[in-house]
Structure formats: C-alpha cells, structure tokens
Symmetry: C2
Subunit: 326 residues, 2 copies
Amino acid sequence: MQTTVLKIFCDLKADDETLLLLKRGVAQHEIVSAAKPAPSVLSKSEPDPALADADIAFGQPEAGAVLQAPRLRWLQISSAGYTRYDNAEFRKAALERQLLVTSSSTVYAEPCAEHVLASMLAQSRGLLEALRAGPGADSTTWLRLRNTSTLLRNQRVVILGFGSIARHLVEMLKPFSMEITALRREPKGDEGVSMVTAEHLPQALARADHVVNLLPATSGSVRFVSTALFAAMRQGSAFYNIGRGATVDQDALLAALRSGRPAAAWLDVTEPEPLPPGHPLLDAPQCFITPHIAGGHQNESQNLVRHFVENLRRFLGGAPLRDRVI
Amino acid sequence: MQTTVLKIFCDLKADDETLLLLKRGVAQHEIVSAAKPAPSVLSKSEPDPALADADIAFGQPEAGAVLQAPRLRWLQISSAGYTRYDNAEFRKAALERQLLVTSSSTVYAEPCAEHVLASMLAQSRGLLEALRAGPGADSTTWLRLRNTSTLLRNQRVVILGFGSIARHLVEMLKPFSMEITALRREPKGDEGVSMVTAEHLPQALARADHVVNLLPATSGSVRFVSTALFAAMRQGSAFYNIGRGATVDQDALLAALRSGRPAAAWLDVTEPEPLPPGHPLLDAPQCFITPHIAGGHQNESQNLVRHFVENLRRFLGGAPLRDRVI
C-alpha cells in the first residue's frame, strides 16, 4: 500500500531542536523550509517559490502567495492573531478553494492569561510603587502602600472578548471568587461566567475593578474601546490590553488616564507597534507598556510545532482542527 | 439576668469608621482605648495604665505590661507575627495564668498569598524587565524577553512553612497544575500537597523553580535558609521571603545571588527593617525588595476588627479561638 507524501511548507524560524521535533512529528511527510524564514511570529515572510508545490503551509506566508499556491489545502498560522489574512477577499478565496486556515491561539492562551494575571496582581498589590519605594520607604509612604493596595478577592472584572485566553484567565481567577462578566460577539452559553451585551456593557464597566481587553482586531472591533466606554469605567479601575492595539481608541485612553478613570492602563499591544518616540502614551500617567511579549515563553517554538503536529494528525484523520479561523 | 460587662483594651490605630465597627461588634462590652495607639500593627504601643483593668486586650500592648495586667484573660495581637511575645518567659507566664493569646494571621493570609503570587508571576513573566524595555525595545531585547519568560504551569514550587498563607497560596496555584512541596515542623496530613522533611529538603530545592519562605521567626527558624540550602537551589530558580527576615542568612543570600543561584530574590522582609543605607542587599543583582507591605490592604483595620469580633463571639461562647498561638 502506497502512502501519499504531503509537502509541508514551513517558514517558522526555529532552532535545530525544534526542526527535529517537527521532522519527527510529520513522519513520512516532507518539510520544505522557506529560503528566508519569517523573522518572528508577528511578521510575514517573503514570497517563496517553494509554497507553489506545498499541500500544507505552517508559519506566516504572504497572503497573496497563499492564494496563488495551487495545491494548498491547509494553512496553519504561527500566531494567535491573523489580521493579515482576515479580509473579505482572502476569506472568500479560501472558502471557494476549500483552504482550511487555523491559528496557533492555543499556544499563546496560557502565557497571555498568565501575563494578564501578573499585571492585575502587580496593579492591585501596588508592586511597582512598593519596589520603587524599596526597603527605606518613609513611614508615610509605607502606610500609604499598605493601605491602598487591594485584594483581587471578591473584586469585579469585565473581560472583552471570550476566546481561549479568556477561558484560561477565568480558570486562574477562580480561587479569588471574583465576579466575572464577559462580552462576546456570539455567546454560546458554555462560558461559565455572566455574559453581557455591548448594549449593557457600560453598566458592567461602571462596577468593574479590572477591565481586560482581549479582543482580536477585526473590522468590527477597531477602536471598540472608545471614549464612551472609558467614561463608563469607574474611578480607581484598571484597564488591560492584551488583544490588539487597534481595538482601543488611544486618544480616548490618553484623555481617560489624564482624568484618572481608569486609574491605570497596562498595555502589551499598541497601534502602531512600537509607538513612535514622543507618542503621548509613553508619558501618560500610570500607563505601563510592555512590548507585545504576553504570548512569549520559553519553548514557544516547540509548542508551536507540537500544536501543528497535533493538527496534522487531525487533518490526516479527517477530524476537526483546533483553532480553526476559516 | 445581669450580663457581665468585659473591659476590652484596644491600642489599634483606627479611624472613626473602624472604631464604630468595633463598638458595634463588642455590643454591651466596654472598649478602653489606649492613650497612645500603636503607630502600626508592626510596632508595640507604650505601656498604658488602662491595661491594668482590662479583661481582654486587642492590638500590640507591651509584653511586660500584658503579664502584669491582673485581670487579662485573652490577648489578640493585631499582627500575624508575634515575635515580641514568643519567648519562654512570656509563654510560661501566659500558660500559668491561663492567658489565651491569638494572632491576626487569618487577616494577613490572603494579601500575603496574593503578594507571593504577584511576585512569582512578575518573576516568571519577566515583567519588570519588559516594562523597563518598554514599547521601543529593540528586536534582540524583544526576542530575549519573549524567549526567556516562563510559564507557572507545570513548574515546581517548594513552600517553607505551612500555615494560613501557604493554604491560601496553594489554592491560588491550583489552576497552574504546579508540583507543590511543603516543609512543616509537624505535618498533620491535611496539607493536600507533598510534604518534605528538613532532611530531604535539599533534594526538593534542587528541583524547584520557586522557593517560597513563609517561616515565622522562632528560636528554631533563625537563619534556617542557610548557605547549604541556597547551594541546593537550582540555577534559574527564584527565592521569595514573605515570612520574617531573621529566618534567612542574608550573607548567604547575598553570596548566592552573586553566583546566580537562585537567579532572583523577592524580599518583603529583611533583618533589620529597614536595611541600613549601604547594605549590600540593596545593590545585589536581581534582588527585589518591598518594605514589608505584603500583608497590607485596603480595609485592613476593618478586617482586623471583624476578626477580633468573631473571636470575641467564640470567646464568650467558649468555642476555640481562631489563630491561637498560646
């Protein structure tokens, strides 16, 4: 019996150990490495002629080249976001030619959720200020640090966007008995937390101690977090963005921070990235910016490969793929 | 039927709202406020003649005055630690005259556990370095930040000391499926995690990603975390001290940090407090010091009062008191 050998185009920048893991994972199938791997999972690779022969692609291939690759049946993107492929033209073309598209969101969900919780705890414990004050804090500072830090326990959080990051986060927040409310385009009833519609979101924000934005960038989510939503947040609340920068009206955020509502913003994503020197958010009060690192973690490449290999197993067996986006 | 009115001496520094809460909580019993309240829950109050008439004391009264107060039957200390009262002489005198002594450790357990988790997540996510790098991080720094951060999930933690902070912490770590090992003077079998004896502690430390010291300061725990224990920790691990500074050999810690094992220390307590200017730990590599704020939180005084009132209810009803230490 002859087994079909599939060609798998891969432009993932990976060390030898990771490539070995991939080779073992795909068994008899053939890996065709890109001449120039994508510099990172957040940037696209150069068009590569090897894609033209591929049955499967894994990485960040250029969208136009994907649509022109005649044999391609499945694309697994190595990031969680897929803005580059998320437009009507690509979606239509992919559906017409029955191209499956999956993301790697499962791989990034755990680190992103841990990053959110790290930020929430640093915020509620006043960790940065306590470290700055250090052991020699005078008694006024010391009493203020002690008396202004809060407990996550019994606090309220609103989560915007309910995908795999949110599910991980909800699990991590369980020990704190928080009141969790989430917004989702199409609630499925399996979320396990209170759901809120966009219409009633302002009332939920008015009660929230923490507002966590996990929205992906889609045509419907651009600048979703607007002046009106910031105005609805309560004094002393904190805002976190681990989704995509484009989902926040940054001018509105700047004005909001200057008015102290929310009292702090923790941003792992901005629009653009990086913010240009002199951008006012860089000097905004209580605005803590990390450079889009929430999803990163040791062994990230290996985990991307494991996730791909698991989906390959499903693909070959005709089972539904994980993280399917088209 | 006549009800005995008990005199409750209180030297807690509290605002009007907290005092009202206390007054309501003690019902018909009489509160005698100290002329000079203790400046904080970490410092003793001046000897006060009012203590001599008290049946119950709540706060930080001077140990000698406590033993001389003829009518005193119960002392509730407003801190979690009780070093000031924890010596053979006090213990013997208290037992002889049947003086009950309770602490307020329950009140501080939740904030302390949240502080530990905040530090663990900041450490594993590389949060401080990512914030320092900010949005303009160059690509080398960015890749390093992404690739060196770790996930708590499946990591190993050793907890030294297994009281109420540890129990809260274990609950908070559950969603991360960590391998938790704890050291306790007298394991009771109800800990719900793997226990280790002091004899086998080095082997546990050699496997741990995080070592959390929650030991109280007792005659048996002084400088417990020694050169030998630091030497047993593995490269890349992190050490946290939220117990008492005296339980760590700080010279050994300094040498350990300089050798990179552990790779980082997060200290909320030191010996002495504050560390004197120029103390070498202030400039030690990867040594993050907060000024004994882990137990602090908004509404701390109210929570101390609620805890006292709950114990008063038990005291009056003859039920076992919470956080009994003598």
